[in-house]
């Protein structure tokens, strides 16, 4: 197919969709639509993970981001009853300035990274590093301490969320 392999086609389509949906997240006025477009972006990124042989990560990404975090966002938006009418808008000039700043940042990043080596990712072969067994080995041998610290982080987040979110205790 036009000299491209199926992997390259999939990469192109997924990248295009991811960027389009990400742009829609920023440019739609209705916050609920923003959340839904972000979910679609996350699905595209999960597709990228599959292409990169990170199968477990793709599943976890959908479960955690699309399944839990975005649902929480949707909850908060419905809790505050936000919709298009109540959506605050920046002035046009600050939007233009933001776009220019973003464009310049992109220009700098592309300019800085363009010269790096053209390394090809091996899509076939050595492809079992993304499986759960392998990840578990690395997690419990090389990253044991960060793993324990992560529980402290989650505990702190839990306590903080309850402290802030709970109404006054009677």
């Amino acid at each position: 197919m036009l000299g491209y392999t199926i992997t390259q086609w999939l990469f192109g389509i997924l990248s295009f969709l991811a960027i389009m949906f990400a742009l829609m997240v920023v440019f739609t006025r209705n916050p609920i639509n923003s959340v839904l477009y972000l979910v679609l972006t996350f699905f595209c990124i999960a597709g990228h993970y599959l292409l990169l042989n990170a199968q477990f990560l793709a599943v976890v990404h959908i479960v955690v981001y699309a399944g839990a975090i975005m649902v929480l966002f949707l909850f908060v938006i419905m809790l505050m009853n936000l919709n298009q009418d109540t959506e605050p808008q920046k002035t046009v000039i600050s939007k233009v300035v933001a776009a220019i700043a973003g464009g310049l940042l992109l220009f700098v990043m592309v300019g800085a990274l363009r010269g790096s080596e053209q390394l090809q990712i091996k899509q076939y072969g050595h492809s079992d590093i993304g499986l759960v067994k392998n990840l578990g080995n690395v997690l419990f041998h090389d990253f044991l301490f960060p793993f324990e610290i992560a529980s402290v982080l989650l505990l702190a987040a839990m306590v903080g969320a309850i402290m802030i979110g709970k109404k006054e205790i009677k």
Binding site: L50, L144, M158
Partner: protein, 124 residues
């Protein structure tokens, strides 16, 4: 586990998604095309027995749901650390059990805290 894993192995899943999505899209398109349309004002309103409908369909709802959702997210993230342990359970042996239980005990402290604060109580 010894079989080669390439992204192409997931092509059937992609196909399934495409077929599922395509089926829904086709059915919706066809029903919109085939069905007759009478767009009068009364038809477009939501049905409310005799009374005119008012306001937005989305009502703000209670904060009580919100804490449950937050706690769900935090306990959900826990799972991504548990799966690798469960799969490697035999290789890691006793040290693995100790490591994971010290992880879980810290989270159980948080669970105890939220029970003590009555964060999951529905009535207040």
């Amino acid at each position: 586990m010894n079989a080669t894993n390439t992204p192409m192995d997931y092509l059937p899943i992609v196909m399934m998604f495409l077929v599922a999505f395509g089926f829904v899209a086709t059915t919706m398109f066809l029903t919109h095309k085939l069905g007759p349309k009478r767009k009068t004002k009364i038809k477009l309103e939501s049905f409310e027995c005799g009374i005119h409908s008012e306001g937005n369909a989305r009502l703000p709802f209670s904060v009580k749901y919100f804490l449950v959702a937050i706690l769900f997210v935090l306990f959900d993230v826990e799972v991504i650390f548990m799966y690798p342990w469960a799969v490697n359970f035999k290789d890691l042996g006793l040290p693995g059990i100790i490591e994971v239980f010290s992880f879980i005990i810290l989270l159980l402290v948080g669970f105890y805290y939220l029970l003590a604060k009555k964060a999951l109580r529905w009535e207040d």
